[in-house]
Symmetry: C2
Subunit: 456 residues, 2 copies
């Protein structure tokens, strides 16, 4: 036989069971998106290169998959890019389209392009594939699905409150208890930068501080010093080393620390609002936690910052994140569209649920009942029953050929079909069905109505 | 403002209402696929070029979107392809991956690659995007969704019977009554070719015969003669000009005509089996019809040929099709995997349902109720109710800002939200809600329980 075919690295085939499990997660997210009033949109898999290039930094430009122009694309190449073997110069001449790299830039493009049809505030959800020419590693793929919800055109902090509730609702629906929704605010980080007197050291500072639990105060301070943060600055923020307790307690500590920073105090005020609202509304299964070391999307987020940690039993890293941004659509010339959004990390949520064995039986069930094929007449009798079962929502199939009994039973076993029907001459005469429970090994004779009732 | 951004030609943005309508159709198909025991798989959006190239003919090769290699791709170009401005020679040197062109070749690749994990007969469904660098025309796109179901590893005609039932089940569930499922058999076409003594004229013959209803027998014969089909041959197949009546009647006519063709008679026998089974099982809303002019996939199909016509009131062309093939995986070196499959034309089904105004209200409903925002306290009162509504599956939202009443009501109107809640101090005190029916214009005061009951 020829060489076994394979797929490009960083991509995946999804088997029926994997599709079922992924669909279960995606449908759960989709349902909550819907209940919260997020409207689904879809954008094309590829955009004009001019839409995507330059929007994700140099690294991003490099990782965007470019689509080769169709036809005799070389006939339009004008300069000597090729002669000099200059790939970078040649690319824009032979490629005008590129694969979606995230859902945010296409959403921004969508908002600008359809701005006359959109009513603000616009709550949109989007669950689509994105592609990145990343070096495939553990849990990183070149094709993966992003699940985003954003609301643009409103500065209201009720949006942040809703996103906390939304995370809680989704993970509760997935029975994923013990999730921690971590929040911070860009303004608090700005306040800390002000207080330590070095905004360029902010990341070094938060990265070091984040290790407090693991390596202890002394080593954290040593790391900060080694990164050029002054001893004086470290002294000033000393309260951060002992910050603890509830969301409210931590805010109280921060209030003292950031009293001199107007921006910092504004961040605190925002978090107070969100925390009070959530305390009043309650969460089902998640915990809301303030984490001043949370510093994702620093160049992008202007207010709230979210990150969701999987239950502690699972070492998974973040399974979601997001934040508030001041400017979504400026890159396409439309000013003053601010918003806030969150994202669900499908692959990591999948792995978390898998590890905790929380996929429900009914979400992954395949064929419920197989009818053994004894020949044309019996098969027709079976097909009549199968039609009734299917219209009652029961997945039923006829073994297509009147093969040997053993072969048919082996098929049922290998496919893990829980019930098998044997209906021959006697059953046809009596209008009954011999139902074999493949797990219990028991067999009984039932009418069609009883069969439907039993399998429903 | 900068130039309004746009999307590549032949691609589409889908607005929330369009996504909802497409999801309604796809979910309906998906549910029936599931009831019939088809297992969903998903394959990567791009495959290795070697997997796709050469599988769809020269035209197909040209229309496949190729992905440019990442990094300094020119450094690996070895020959003088560029100097000669030879795009065709250069492409395989700078592109190793290509976008999925259909779902059949990836399915074949999947079956071969995972053959040790697959239990035959394997019933698989797949609903994914495909991309073609076609010249975009009316209803033809460069990105579109294919919805396929195939079963491989069984020659049983019960599969064909099931596909007729499946088409009927899907279109019945979509309330698309009056659909015609047209069937033919490659072997009958071979028989006709034998009888007219010219297999190379088969397409000319069926194309001309297909016009019988429109232009009449004389003109059809003239066309046949002009295509080089002999007068004698036309005389031999004279019964085809008057073939009519039920599926069974037509088969009887064919029996006389193709008596001398072993292959033709085999085709008839197969159709007899399918027709008798369907007559015995019954169809819900579709009609099964024999159409000897149906000649799609001649190079590919070896048995049954399916094509589904939209209800006559809609001029739409075929909304589905498929057939039986002898060899799925030979292109990847695995012999003897035969199968049969059908496809649903999502875009045309969408347009048909749209034209007939058959999208159900509940499938496209957006936000059910908007809570007017009167300020922080009232908003919190609203959010508590909203939480209850959402957990009852009702899409409820708070207007995010305490904006002017008029602005909030305008939002409700523009978003076509059917109900609005006004809850201020008095309602909060009485634990009630003023519910305004935006369609009827009426207003009433209700408790939370009554509200849930009303909106559910």
């Amino acid at each position: 036989m020829a060489q076994k075919p394979s797929i490009p690295k960083g991509t995946r085939d999804f088997s029926p069971i994997e599709v079922a499990k992924r669909s279960y997660i995606m449908n759960t997210i989709r349902t909550q998106f819907q209940h919260y009033g997020f409207q689904p949109i879809e954008t094309p898999s590829f955009e004009k290169s001019s839409t995507l290039m330059g929007k994700y930094g140099e690294e991003g430009d490099r990782l965007i998959f470019k689509i080769l122009n169709s036809g005799d694309y070389l006939s339009k190449v004008k300069d000597d890019a090729f002669a000099k073997a200059n790939s970078n110069a040649l690319t824009p001449q032979i490629s005008e389209k590129a694969l979606r790299y995230d859902l945010t830039v296409p959403f921004a493009r969508y908002v600008v392009q359809h701005r006359n049809d959109i009513v603000l505030p616009f709550k949109r959800s989007q669950m689509q594939l994105v592609w990145r020419a990343d070096n495939p590693q553990n849990n990183r793929y070149r094709e993966f699905c992003q699940c985003d919800a954003d609301v643009v055109g409103s500065d209201s902090l009720w949006q942040e409150v809703e996103f906390v509730q939304l995370y809680d609702a989704v993970f509760t629906a997935l029975k994923l208890e013990g999730v921690t929704i971590k929040m911070n605010n860009r303004k608090i980080l700005s306040g800390i930068a002000e207080v330590i007197g070095a905004s360029d050291k902010l990341i070094d500072f938060t990265v070091a501080l984040d290790k407090l639990d693991k390596i202890g105060k002394e080593k954290v301070i040593a790391e900060m010093l080694s990164k050029g943060i002054s001893e004086e600055a470290i002294k000033t923020v000393d309260p951060l080393f002992t910050i603890s307790g509830s969301f409210g307690d931590q805010l109280a500590t921060l209030k003292g620390l950031l009293a001199t920073s107007e921006t910092g105090m504004q961040g605190i005020e925002e978090l107070v609002f969100i925390n009070e609202a959530i305390e009043s509304l309650g969460l089902e299964s998640a915990t809301l936690q303030l984490d001043v070391t949370l510093a994702r999307g620093l160049n992008y987020y202007t207010g709230a910052i979210f990150e969701v940690a999987a239950p502690e039993a699972v070492k998974m890293g973040s399974i979601g994140g997001g934040g508030r941004y001041a400017d979504l659509t400026g890159i396409f010339g439309l000013k003053d569209v601010s918003g806030v959004g969150i994202s669900f990390g499908l692959d990591r949520i999948y792995n978390t649920i898998e590890q905790l064995d929380l996929f429900p039986e009914e979400a992954i069930e395949g064929i419920k009942v197989l009818f053994i094929n004894f020949g044309k007449e019996e098969a027709l009798y079976a097909m009549k029953a199968i039609k009734q079962l299917r219209s009652n929502g029961i997945t039923a199939v006829l073994y297509p050929d009147a093969a040997k009994m053993k072969k048919q039973m082996t098929y049922a076993n290998r496919r893990e079909i829980p019930f098998v029907i044997l209906a021959g001459g006697e059953e046809m005469e009596n209008k009954t069905f011999a139902l074999k429970d493949m797990v219990a090994g028991e067999q009984e004779t039932v009418t069609l109505d009883a069969l439907i009732e039993r399998l429903k």
